[in-house]
């Protein structure tokens, strides 16, 4: 009965979960700035949640340091099903300048397929909003595929 409405609502209220795997916090400030009055992601329904169980889109920042590797894997597994992984900045994409360092465990796609990657070090808030818009489409496809 609500099938169509549930489909539509997946576009309208994607919830974000911010996962920092050792980033220099450049991208983290950008993510937060997306929610400030100037860029206001909330007008499109985005909301930062505290627990991975509530999230649809996971924003990963930072090159996966060895400490945060298995925590990353465990937290990503705990997100309920139609989920989208978005990598912010170049670190998760390709461990940026830290490539080859002893404590960096390689780019994110070694552990989980990246759906949307937003390049930039740090990416501009508008770029993040673009990325999130793309992520919403992927979310809807995944939701349709899941049904």
């Amino acid at each position: 009965m609500f099938k169509k409405l549930i489909e539509k609502s997946f576009e309208k209220s994607p919830w974000l979960f911010h996962l920092n795997t050792g980033s220099c916090n450049g991208c983290d400030i950008e993510i937060v700035s997306v929610i400030t009055p100037r860029y206001d992601a909330e007008r499109m329904g985005f909301k930062l949640t505290g627990s991975p169980r509530h999230a649809d889109i996971i924003l990963v920042t930072g090159p996966i340091t060895s400490q945060s590797r298995d925590r990353l894997i465990r937290t990503l597994a705990q997100v309920p099903d139609p989920k989208v992984v978005v990598s912010i900045g170049s670190c998760p994409r390709s461990t940026n300048v830290f490539n080859g360092s002893y404590s960096v465990e390689g780019p994110l796609d070694k552990y989980v397929p990246i759906d949307v990657s937003i390049a930039g070090c740090p990416p501009k808030p508008e770029a993040i909003i673009d990325g999130l818009a793309k992520a919403i489409e992927i979310l809807r496809e995944k939701r349709r595929a899941m049904k």
Binding site: Y39, R93, N99, V116, G120, C121, I129, K134
Partner: protein, 146 residues
């Protein structure tokens, strides 16, 4: 029992919100913004300065021997780039330029790869002298120096 910001809160309800509605109003990046790389292969002289200077090492070069010279392709993998624009500054020929295009949100990795190829014609090869003449030239050279 003081209520901070109460006045501003109530006043701002009636003012226009200061949000830029980004997707509708496209926002121009500020001057000098280091965004997507533009590579002009024709200007490049394959000196390799950019490769040496790039910290994350995201610039790679492939050289391919062809009959009219070696076909050199430069790949700027922006997924690993820190947008420090050192490559642009050090490029003697100004072949690399970081534009103001900040739309770098991509779904597949290929879009982050900027590459350009050019064929570097070698200088006209001096006629090939037979082996014998080469040694004479070397002896004359040696004699001159003594």
């Amino acid at each position: 029992m003081k209520f901070p910001y109460l006045k501003e809160a109530i006043k701002s309800v009636f003012k226009k919100p200061s949000t830029e509605i980004y997707p509708i109003v496209n926002k121009e990046a500020p001057e000098g913004y280091r965004g997507k790389i533009n590579y002009y292969p024709e200007k490049c002289v394959n000196c390799g300065m950019c490769i040496r200077v790039c910290a994350p090492g995201c610039i790679t070069r492939t050289i391919e021997k062809t009959e009219e010279g070696d076909k050199i392709t430069f790949n700027f993998y922006q997924g690993q780039c820190t947008f420090c624009s050192l490559c642009a500054d050090f490029c003697p020929r100004g072949a690399i330029e970081l534009t103001k295009n900040y739309h770098l949100a991509v779904t597949d990795e290929k879009d982050l790869l900027v590459s350009g190829t050019f064929i570097k014609k070698l200088p006209p090869k001096p006629p090939v002298q037979p082996q014998q003449q080469v040694q004479n030239q070397q002896n004359q050279g040696a004699a001159k120096t003594e």
